[in-house]
Amino acid sequence: MSEISMPRLSDTMQEGTISRWLKQPGDEVKKGDVLAEIETDKATMDLEAYESGTLEKILVQGGETVPIGQAVAVIGSGSGAQNAGAEPAQQPAQEPSPAPATARTATEEAPAAPEPAADSKNQAPAAESTNVQQRVPEIAERSDGASIKVSPLARRMAEEHNIDLHQLQGTGPGGRIVRDDIEDYLEQRGPTPSTATPETAPAAPPQEAPAAAQAAAPAAQPEAGAPPPDAEVVKLSRVQVLIARRLTESKQTIPHFYVSSEVDMTDVLAMRQTFNASAGEDGVKVTVNDLIVKACALALEKFPEVNSSLKDDQLIKYKRVNVGIAVDVPSGLVVPVIRDTNIKGVRSIAREAKELIAKARANKLSTADLEGGTFSVSNLGMMDASNFIAVINPPQAAILAVASARKQFVPVDGQPVIRDMMTMTMSADHRIIYGATVARFLQEVKRMLHDPYSLLG
């Protein structure tokens, strides 16, 4: 029998949400089978079984969020599925689950050491097994929902602030509720007098609220600025919470400035038609955005200060040019990255972009798809936007907002001529990039779009 714990799926991941279980208790599982889908701060990923057996018990239900390392399920021989309560006794014979690798090392070392004690972390065998026995009942209690693991300080704070601990999700070791969680909760709840209890707050008779809205409303929300009873309250997904935090951080900490430029896209559109016609039936069609991405990538080669990041008092100039493309998805916005965009041909870029967009819409992007971007392009051209400006995607230093190409009269040799004109606006981090640089960068992008065959080199 062994526990499956919440894996660390990205560098920034602190906790994960089980989106849904694909296996149910009692199901046979083989090593490599996908047990569940996990939503992290960046993407949705599969939780695979590391060994074969029977899924005996699900400890964390779909929709619940737990910190990395916490047990989410138990896989066993199948005998334990019916009498789940008996497992603590079996546990000491198994590897202590939260850190199987370390535990294994310790047991390997033990026979070689002349003295019983070998390591300050895994002192004597006796101490080790005590730890395991302590850990197991805690998990069992938690899965029953009968008792909650909470630090003494957090318990005291909860009492002082009238907080029902059942409303909180602990992020300490083993899901323990700690001071951080109480503080998070208090921040969320806002500055309310601690005497205000949920019963005294809302005026609307709760019976009349639609059942769905009641279910969706987070338990934390009633006191300050409660929404009207007819409003729908939707809890943000983890991705949406992350987007909200990142964008706020970007706008609050990065001094944005903006430079716009109009580009004549007539030749680009013409070339694209010819180019796609030659691609044949099942060839990948190149989009206008792919060409703009390529133009940006080539311009970034020439303007390394745009392809950079500010970190403390250092300017980090990236050698590689990885352009991210903003993709609109049901849950918000994601920016998958096309790596080494400057050295890829437009057809490769087009193929990759298409795959990434499909993955994004299916919520299948991996962390690798989302990491390492050095610049972003956001395009609302298909949605008839005449002009817009974008928020920088940190730690990048700039983002290009691309609007629609529209037929306009422009003077050519003193005569009005109809051309396809498009406005693009660059948002840049003024701490490291200056107006003239952005203007020159845009000139370079524009030069290539006016001479679109230069993009095919």
């Binding site: 602190q14 050491a113 003295e115 004690a117 070998a118 390591d119 300050s120 002192q123 630090s151 003494p152 300080l153 957090a154 318990r155 005291r156 992020t171 300490g172 070791p173 700690v178 001071r179 951080d180 503080e183 998070d184």
Partner: protein
């Protein structure tokens, strides 16, 4: 006025000043006179004060600690040097069964104003029998006081207080501290026994330590504050017996998270004692289990790489701080 001097110099100067101040004060130990001390703490003192005040002894620890105890019973104020704490094992009977007990067993007829100075600590490739940290043995015994200064200033202040105290005091030094420098107040500077010191204020977690590890902890805490913005409070115990509950508990109430950082072995150690007292008196202030960071429980190897791997130090402390620091503070870094 503050002079920048080494820990060694602070000890030397204080011994000399005490010898000058009170003619009942005398030094006793192996190689402290003609050879001027294995670690040169007593350099020049035999020449200045003569063989009655600076007494070279045979290699017989139980004998000369017994002699010093007898001298203390009769009103002298001996300061014994045990070359390193490893040799104190030979004098356990005199210290534990006699020096620590005579005052209370004989109706308070005579106090024992005895100081036993001795350095502990590893890291000098002196191998298992010459690198130990045995101070907790003495901190366990009622009737003894145990002090462990980590800075030149405390070395001076605590040594003066120890010499003038009427109880037997184990004065713990450390081989790796002798050459560290620091400001030392001039004049009759005294540090009370039984009083810890917050050497650095902080709000995210507390590192409690003593002797050399306290100096290491202070350094780590300053560095991490600069690099990671973690605000770490450092409590230097300075005295292991009596232990300053108040300073420890105040810090726990402030930061709610505690690491005890000690060079000795972990089992039954200083960390165990402190963890026990914290849960007893400040249980409701704890936000995480108390973490003990100590050396590996093996006889210390001679080989340099193995010695380094065995002894605890800054690296282990940094790892533990990263592990135990509160999430909200970590995510800001």
């Amino acid at each position: 006025m503050m002079a920048e001097i080494t820990y060694r110099q602070a000890l030397h100067d204080t011994l000399r000043e005490e010898l000058l101040r009170d003619e009942n004060v005398l030094l006793v130990g192996e190689e402290i006179g003609v050879f001027e001390g294995s670690y040169k703490i007593t350099a020049g003192l035999l020449k200045e004060f003569g063989p009655k005040r600076v007494v070279d002894t045979p290699i017989v620890e139980n004998g000369f600690v017994g002699m010093a105890t007898g001298a203390a019973m009769l009103g002298l104020r001996p300061i014994v040097e045990i070359m390193t704490i490893n040799f104190i094992v030979l004098a356990m009977d005199q210290i534990v069964n006699h020096a620590a007990k005579i005052y209370s067993m004989f109706g308070g007829q005579c106090p024992i104003p005895l100081v036993i100075r001795t350095p502990g600590g590893g890291g000098q490739q002196l191998a298992a029998t010459h690198s130990q940290n045995l101070e907790v043995w003495f901190a366990h015994v009622p009737g003894l006081k145990v002090v462990a200064p980590s800075s030149p200033a405390d070395a001076k202040g605590l040594l003066r207080t120890s010499v003038r105290d009427n109880n037997p005091v184990i004065f713990l030094e450390n081989l790796a501290l002798y050459n560290i420098k620091g400001g030392v107040p001039d004049g009759d500077y005294m540090v009370p026994i039984g009083k810890a010191q917050v050497t650095k204020e902080g709000s995210d977690l507390t590192v409690i330590s003593y002797s050399r590890m306290s100096a290491v902890a202070l350094d780590v805490a300053r560095r991490m504050e600069e690099e990671n913005k973690l605000s770490i409070e450092v409590v230097d115990l300075r005295s292991l017996r009596p232990l300053d509950y108040e300073t420890i508990l105040n810090s726990v109430r402030k930061t709610n998270r505690v690491i005890v950082f000690e060079e000795d072995w972990r089992s039954y150690g200083v960390g165990a004692e402190i963890a026990a007292l914290i849960q007893e008196y400040a249980f409701d202030d704890l936000d995480a289990p108390i973490k003990r960071v100590a050396s590996l429980e093996v006889p210390l190897p001679y080989s340099k790489p193995l010695e380094l791997a065995t002894l605890t130090g800054a690296k282990q402390l940094v790892e533990s701080i990263n592990e135990i620091a509160p999430r909200r503070r970590r995510s800001q870094s």
